[in-house]
């Protein structure tokens, strides 16, 4: 296959699940919210969730509008549900898990007024975002 053929070749990426998947995503969403509150990173979680939602809307919306995306029912509603429950909660859980493992340091994004964690002291977010 040459490059031109590859670039124009059709690739189908599909997912076959059951409706219980939507319930599971809702439970994961609730778990992410609870973790964000318990770990005192609810504002960081809200903002990265918004970032994931934005990406989901723009990217999935473009796929849907171009006809490349097929959902099970009520395309726009399902797209919104996916944008809300797929990207954000997983990202929040990933970030908090990575923090727990010590892979990333997000102490400067801890909720204002929250007590310092047992992690090494780091500087808080200061005006200008300077560290």
């Amino acid at each position: 296959m040459d490059l031109a053929s590859f670039l124009s070749s059709t690739i189908v990426i599909s997912r076959d699940l059951v409706n219980a998947y939507f319930i599971i995503m809702a439970l994961i969403t609730l778990t992410a919210i609870a973790l964000a509150y318990v770990t005192r990173f609810k504002w960081l979680s809200l903002y990265v969730w918004f970032g994931a939602f934005l990406i989901g809307l723009v990217w999935e919306g473009a796929l849907l509008a171009s006809g490349w995306r097929v959902y099970g029912f009520l395309d726009a509603a399902e797209m919104l549900y996916h944008a809300l429950t797929e990207g954000g909660p997983g990202l929040v859980i990933t970030i908090l898990f990575m923090r727990w493992l010590g892979v990333i340091d997000i102490e400067r994004f801890r909720d204002p007024g929250a007590a310092p964690s047992d992690a090494p002291a780091t500087e808080a977010v200061t005006p200008g975002g300077a560290t």
Binding site: F6, L7, S8, S9, T10, I11, V12, I13, S14, R15, D16, L17, V18, N19, A20, Y21, F22, I23, W43, L44, Y47, V48, W49, F50, G51, A52, L54, I55, W59, L63, W68, R69, V70, Y71, G72, F73, E78, H82, G87, G88, L91, T94, I95, M98, V103, I104, D105, I106, F109, D111, P112, V125, T126, P127, G128, G129
Partner: protein, 113 residues
Amino acid sequence: MGLLEWLLEPVHVSRTVTGGYLVLATCISLAVLAYALRTRDRNAVRLYIASIPIWMFIEGLGLVMGWRAYTEPVWLTYIVVAVMEDPGWVALAYIIGTRLMERRSLSTPATLM
């Protein structure tokens, strides 16, 4: 239809793309990684790298269990989705969220709850 029947009702989601889409997704993800490296956003870079095994597992599990299906080229699609696309979105969403949060800190730190 009862609740159990509804819960077990199959739902199919798919996207039909081209090889060019895989190239585009790869370029976007590499641009996100390059931006994170250039701005020395250590967390974003580490999230990108740490997401790779996570998404390789999730996508791989889906392929093995039959929940996920790709048409040929399967391995290339798997590599692009698990190593490039999804980690790229993770890093990009983190960058967007933290940049917005830092902007809020600039203007109205007192209003953050």
